[in-house]
Symmetry: C2
Subunit: 130 residues, 2 copies
């Protein structure tokens, strides 16, 4: 799939029904992944046009690994496959929200936790596990 | 507040209790904002060290506006002030999750909607309002 370039008209970008994802200078768009049933935020990752295309085509979340510089079908090795419930885009179309159902043991973080956001920051700047 | 640089040791970064946010080449870190009570994702924005410092100091969400290149206390003009319930960091400390309670009319999007993620992408690439 070819994604059309963002329209120059702000109203069209925000109110229109054309999907015109805005990729950054590295060809990436940021994605928040949320467990659809619980609302829990699982992770934050990036997609390039290929990963986004594969995600829409297969209904399974694909990301672009910035560290490995490679297409990454989440769960390929862990079994924690993310089945798309829906994919949403924000007002200015430079961020995506993936609402998913997780396969395998239902987790998303490579540290063995369900969510990558397992530490809270105290006002003084320390962390505590939540 | 000065934020210490990320440790070189991965285990320390992921399992440690030192908050070492990793800012990108533009000095920014990505933030997902979630309504704490409902779990609804409201918006995605960025913070620089100043915005993060102000957020921790005041308990009110501050962001860095990339379009205006300015510190942005969310809700200053709209009344949609975001009171921090907690702030979490992900495994590799390059993304933040803000869990908030929203003041004013409880909305977050400048288009007048509660959430910025008000359109779903169909597998064929069109959008529908959710």
């Amino acid at each position: 799939m070819q994604f059309p370039p963002p329209p120059t008209d702000k109203h069209e970008l925000e109110e229109g029904l054309a999907f015109t994802p805005k990729f950054d200078a590295h060809g990436l768009i940021v994605c928040v992944t949320q467990e659809a049933a619980s609302g829990e935020i699982l992770m934050l990752a990036y997609m390039n046009a290929l990963a986004l295309d594969k995600t829409l085509e297969t209904g399974i979340a694909h990301y672009w690994s910035r560290s490995r510089n490679a297409l990454w079908r989440k769960g390929d090795t862990s079994g924690q496959v993310q089945k798309l419930v829906d994919l949403r885009v924000d007002c200015d179309q430079d961020a995506l929200l993936l609402r998913v159902e997780v396969g395998g043991d239902g987790k998303a973080c490579h540290t063995g936790r369900k969510s990558c956001f397992y530490r809270a920051v105290s006002p003084e700047g320390g962390l505590t596990e939540v």
